[in-house]
Structures are given as structure tokens and as C-alpha cells.
């Protein structure tokens, strides 16, 4: 069916050229989006790239019914989010087990240094405390300047639902940040 050129990593060649050209276009268009969605959950570049790769591999399997650009992006965002959440939860369980034996400091990425490390840690902690359906709205609205309409399109939800979730998310975020500031 589709075979990719091994020696030339920039392009792909197969019998179904139109199919591969479209998929390459989607990869250029949505690769960073999938990565950022995963990064918004995992905060580790390598893990986020792994999750984005997995999401693209799954997207390739379903690509015949995902050839529409908007449908593809929405599907990719939701899949990346779910995969990232799954990995994040399994990592948390694993870290919790390991910390019983070897207490370790939370990893600090270079991106966290853009914002002060302490503020970034507070922010991530507050976001992690939100319910999943509020958390994804906050993350998606912070990526690539998505407005409510674009988030609604990516989530396949009505705009009103996204608006109310965004309101609740911001309210919860403010409370969490205040609690974290007071606890210090």
C-alpha cells in the first residue's frame, strides 16, 4: 500500500502518491500541535514526541476517513491528549512507587526556565489539579492562540460548552494558584 522512502527522510514515496502527499501535508500542518498538546500534559520533550509519534501512527491507520483537514486535526488532538493522559497517569504511578525508595526532585525542563521555575511549577501543579475536561480546554486555548471557536472545533463541542468550561477552568485555576501561594 504505502511505502515510505527510507533514504530520504524529508519526503515519502509510495504507489499512492496523493495519499502520501496529503499525509505529509497533515504532518507539517499538525505535527507541532500534537506535540504541544502532549507536552501540555507531560512536560517532557521526549515523552511528548513519543506520544505525538504514536498519535500520528494511529492517524495513519485511520487516514482514509480522516482526509479532511479539520477532522484530522480534531482527531489528532483528542488522540494525543488521551495518549498523553494515559502516559502521565502511568508515570505518576511509577514515580510514586519509586519515590518510596528513592525520593527524587521533580524534573525541570529548559522550557520551564523561560518562566521562573517556581512559577512554572505552581502553574503546572494548578493545571494538573483541574478535571480533565477543564484542563484540555485551558491547554488548547493556550496553544497557538486558539480562540473559543477553534477550541470548540478541535474538541467537537459546542462553543457555549467550551466557554462555560473555560470559565470554570479559569476560576479553578485561580483558586488553585491562590492556595498554592498561601501554602508557601
Amino acid at each position: 500500500m504505502n511505502e515510505w522512502a527510507g533514504g530520504f527522510p524529508g519526503t515519502l514515496v509510495s504507489d499512492d502518491t496523493a495519499f502520501d502527499v496529503e499525509f505529509e501535508e497533515r504532518l507539517r500542518d499538525s505535527g507541532t500541535l500534537a506535540f504541544r498538546v502532549a507536552y501540555g500534559v507531560l512536560r517532557q520533550r521526549e515523552d511528548a514526541e513519543d506520544v505525538a509519534q504514536e498519535a500520528f501512527a494511529r492517524a495513519f491507520r485511520h487516514f482514509p476517513r480522516l482526509r479532511d483537514r479539520e477532522r484530522f486535526r480534531a482527531w489528532l488532538v483528542r488522540t494525543s491528549w488521551r495518549l498523553a493522559i494515559d502516559r502521565w497517569r502511568s508515570d505518576r504511578r511509577r514515580v510514586a512507587r519509586e519515590q518510596v525508595v528513592h525520593p527524587a526532585a521533580p524534573p525541570v525542563s529548559s522550557e520551564d526556565l523561560v518562566v521562573s521555575t517556581e512559577r512554572a511549577a505552581h502553574l503546572w501543579r494548578a493545571i494538573d489539579a483541574l478535571p480533565d475536561k477543564l484542563r484540555i480546554v485551558v491547554v488548547l486555548s493556550a496553544i497557538e492562540g486558539h480562540d473559543v471557536r477553534e477550541v470548540a472545533a478541535l474538541m467537537r463541542l459546542p462553543e457555549g460548552t467550551v466557554k462555560s468550561r473555560l470559565f470554570l477552568a479559569r476560576k479553578g485555576l485561580a483558586e488553585k494558584l491562590r492556595c498554592l501561594s498561601n501554602s508557601q
Binding site: W4, L27, G31, G40, E49, E54, F56, F60, R61, E111
Partner: protein, 177 residues
């Protein structure tokens, strides 16, 4: 609202934190991963084809097995004695079905005639017996047959009357009790 200002600052921080680009080799790794996925998909597709073909063959064999085993395994029943049907012509019978086309003339079996009464068995004499009978007849005609002397008159035997003593066993048993 009261939470607008800190949340706006947090959102601005979040946007900066998420304005991150994947590494340079990200797309190439995605292509490799998808290529591997494609190859695995091809292998799976062949495997699926083989599995489906095997399942189809199994189903066909399962369906045909009873039919084939009829000829192979089923024991032949003992042959029943042949039944011969004989049509009997009844001139007064009314046909059940009326056909527009001409009905071929039925093949009428020949009525079986009643068999004759069995003859008495023929008495067969051997030559000497036949000669003796013929000689007896001739002598009877000639009147030369001498009747045998009559047997002496027999006197009946005198039988003494039997005297049976009464049975005493039962009375003895009663006395013993």
C-alpha cells in the same frame, strides 16, 4: 472579576511554556514510525488474509463433512426384500385426477388365475409290491384265496378288585401336634 488578573498572568505563562517546538528530528521519526506501522499493517493484512482463508476452508470443510461422510462412513442398511407391486385393473374405479392431456393407457397386469387344486400325491409301488397286488386280485377273482383260520376266542382276564387302605398320614400329623 477577582480571579481575572492572576489567571491572565498564568495564561500568559502557559502560552510561553507551550510555545515549544519539537526537536529537529521529530518529523523524520514520525515518518519512520509511520513506515514501520505501514509495514506492520501489510504483514497484518497478509496474516488476516491467511486467517480468513483458513477460516473459510474450515467452514467449507465443516459444511461438506456430513455430506461426504454419508458416502464413506454410514453403514449400508440391510437390503430389504424386494417388493413387487402388481397393478390390478378395476373397471369400475373412478380416476382421481382429470387431465386435459390424454392419459396413456395403463399397463394392466395380467390377472393371476387361481392355481388348480393340488393333486393327491401319486402312490408309487415298487415292482414287487405291484406284482403282489396284482396276484392278490387275480386270486380273489379265481376264488382260490383261502382265508386264514380264525383266531381262538380270547377269554377276558379276571382282575381282582383293588383295596386301598385309607390315608393315615394327615391324622398322624394331627396327633403328633
Amino acid at each position: 472579576m477577582s480571579f481575572e488578573q492572576p489567571v491572565s498572568a498564568a495564561e500568559a505563562d502557559l502560552e510561553r511554556l507551550l510555545a515549544i517546538e519539537p526537536s529537529a528530528g521529530f518529523r523524520a521519526r514520525v515518518r519512520e514510525r509511520v513506515a514501520a506501522e505501514s509495514m506492520r499493517g501489510q504483514r497484518w493484512s497478509w496474516t488476516l488474509v491467511l486467517v480468513r482463508a483458513g477460516a473459510l476452508v474450515t467452514v467449507v470443510v465443516a459444511l461438506l463433512m456430513p455430506i461426504l461422510s454419508l458416502d464413506v462412513d454410514r453403514p449400508t442398511p440391510p437390503s430389504a426384500p424386494p417388493v413387487f407391486l402388481t397393478a390390478v385393473h378395476r373397471p369400475d374405479a373412478v380416476p382421481l385426477v382429470v387431465r386435459s392431456e390424454p392419459i396413456p393407457a395403463p399397463r394392466i397386469a395380467r390377472r393371476r388365475t387361481a392355481s388348480p387344486a393340488p393333486r393327491e400325491p401319486e402312490v408309487v409301488w415298487d415292482a414287487r409290491g405291484a406284482y403282489a397286488i396284482a396276484r392278490l386280485v387275480d386270486l380273489a377273482h379265481e376264488g382260490t384265496i383261502v382265508s386264514a383260520p380264525s383266531a381262538p376266542e380270547r377269554t377276558p382276564l379276571a382282575v381282582q378288585p383293588l383295596s386301598v387302605s385309607p390315608v393315615t398320614v394327615f391324622s398322624q400329623m394331627l396327633q403328633q401336634d
